[in-house]
Symmetry: D3
């Protein structure tokens, strides 16, 4: 027996895109965490790591600032997103072999979730890393931008599979 | 014998991030193509494809518009990017099994390349697809945002490996 | 006997423009509906309608996305407007002879009304329609951008005359 | 015999919206003029005019600044517009009975026209006038936003009919 | 005996910049006042003052509108600032000899203070004054951008020394 | 004998603000340098300097990124400024006693000067420094935002007095 097709909440009866009306939802505490992974060649990863804290810190810090600023612009970038009063957003990075793993956390007290803010933060942080390294290697790949976790709201907690 | 470490053009002598000065470069024709792949579960991919042109077209069209608008904001989002007068930017999508493949092309006549515009276009298009489908599946993964090709400028043509 | 002149709340004692202070107002539910009408030549209206759902849908869908995005930027565009946390904004369109009637609805729970958000949504949606059709007819006229209705707030309900 | 349907340059072969590629066009001098008319009740028009230069000047000046700023954001607001390096943009206003007539001029040396900049300028100026007067009269109507003239480019000069 | 070094709340344990998490703070009424002083040459100050209300009013009014708009963009301009729902923001100006003193007030009901909004308002108003006068005198100096007062929040009231 | 009053190029015949029309100017190489000075208490200056490169570098680096991003938004912030295609913009900082001296350079090939870009860069960098240090000392004062030098264009070279 076939499962019923999932429905796509952003499409109205005639298939036209539209914002979800959150007017009947009360603000509640919400969080989200997301991740983006940038794969470097081993040589470039070594170079970035070897130059030590200041240089590496600077690529990462610029990317982190870009991510925080982008999160605050999510509603301007994602057409059907609501503006949310973020309580906090942060981007961190750590190395895993030749890959730079960027993770974000976002939180708000709002009527809808902060998943897109967390995802936009890591997405733009990753693009900024690409921009700062592309003179050396245009072959860098951003992979696995994904939601790690969200809490709060009617749909409750989500955790990505390992 | 060890190869010399690649240098990172965006870092100055003290390791501080900074914009590249393009004042001595003449404007030349430049293009870039980039790609982002969004992996769906087979059930959601079927649902999106089954609802046919209007529904699928609408998710994709909204994402395409988001991508074009984002490309025009690249310099506002990527801290060390230059503003470029884009001649054209476009985002297209096609299905490959349960994956939606978004590709962008960007072109300008400018003193620096349009790689970041092309990458930003597909990155935001992919995040918009996620936003429009997340009510059904928060486990969607954006993978492989990468530059496919660039032409023009001193560094010439780049093509990604298959 | 002459009626006293109406006063213009945005002008202070010296006639200088300024924002209204809403600090003493409590957030309440507010809605607004607005309308913009784009007049086409009969031939262009027929062409747009004849190409059927996908083509017409696309001009309209692009305009609707532009309207939703513009509504979220109202406070950035209208100098003395407050930023409002929109619960919902939507733009719809229907044909009335050779005219495309765009209507918007906006709602929020805020200390001031959402009239400008609704008006900005249809205004920019109409400008987007113009942009997408101007290669065929630069003589298109946008007429009758107006508020249809607002509810909520101290001044209560307003309904435009027919 | 039926005339062939006009074609809509922004729709590609499959009816999807897209930017026009201007990469093969050389920059040339271009101008555009547009108009928006705001209809007041006679009482409000009298009040605005009677308060004399400073008050009237202030409503108009705020609207003019809003229009100039909006023109510079056209490419951010109209999805398929190109960014253009404006040489000049200006908004003026004069009274015609109870109607405030706002006119804009825009010019650039670019590969595509400045019609949308001129129209966006008067459109946002008119919305700003509405915002500043709506406490007195929510029934104000913006009518007849239209292009008055454009010059330059392949399609040459356009002048609106009287 | 040496006083302990002040700690800088925006730096995390590793010295990386980050936003302050305000998720545990309740919204309370907050205000801030700031000041910027623009020093003119006596001749230019006289010219600006002599041309009377309309001309002087216009430089100042344009600067005031620029300041209000900038205050609403504070979170977009200052990387680690939170978006705040401003209840009110205003910029005023008065002459003190050859100096134009710009003062701003900002207020909100939020989980963090509005100091940066008040400072950004006067900062951009002062830069706008510079822009409008620089054809006459590029030697204008903006001096003493500073917070005059803030109220509300855990740290209570601050008043600048005379 | 009285010198004639300087004229203010941004005011038209009726004293209304307006953009300068640069349509008859050819693009030429232009540069500008500006400066902002942030005065700290000696204790806070010592703390910032003592924490060494990473902490100081981070406050400064965040401010530098904020300054570069702000320069690219100058035309959006200063109402009567033209959009300019910046070839380069940079913000640097050094200590002079208890004062942090921020200097910017901006350059473009355009029809009008980059003074406002250089000034906006240091202005926002200074406000960002304030934001990052205000938890420790709200009494920080930004003083002496001024143009140091500009080259290019009809008015030629300007150098600030010492």
């Amino acid at each position: 027996m076939k499962k019923p097709a999932p429905t796509l909440s952003h499409l109205d009866a005639e298939g036209r895109p539209g914002m979800v009306d959150v007017g009947s939802k009360s603000p509640t505490a919400r969080t989200a965490r997301a991740e983006a992974i940038v794969d470097f060649t081993p040589a470039l990863a070594r170079a970035l790591r070897r130059t030590g804290r200041s240089a590496k810190g600077n690529v990462l810090d610029t990317a982190r600032v870009a991510g925080v600023l982008a999160a605050k612009k999510t509603a301007e970038l994602i057409p059907l997103c609501h503006s949310l009063p973020l309580d906090h957003v942060d981007v961190q990075g750590h190395w895993k072999g030749s890959s730079l793993v960027l993770t974000s956390t976002a939180s708000c007290r709002g009527a809808t979730g902060v998943e897109m803010e967390a995802l936009t933060a890591v997405g733009l942080a990753a693009l900024t890393v690409y921009d700062m390294c592309k003179a050396v290697d245009k072959g860098l790949v951003i992979r696995a931008i994904r939601l790690l976790e969200k809490t709060g709201g009617k749909s409750g907690t989500f955790r990505a599979e390992k």
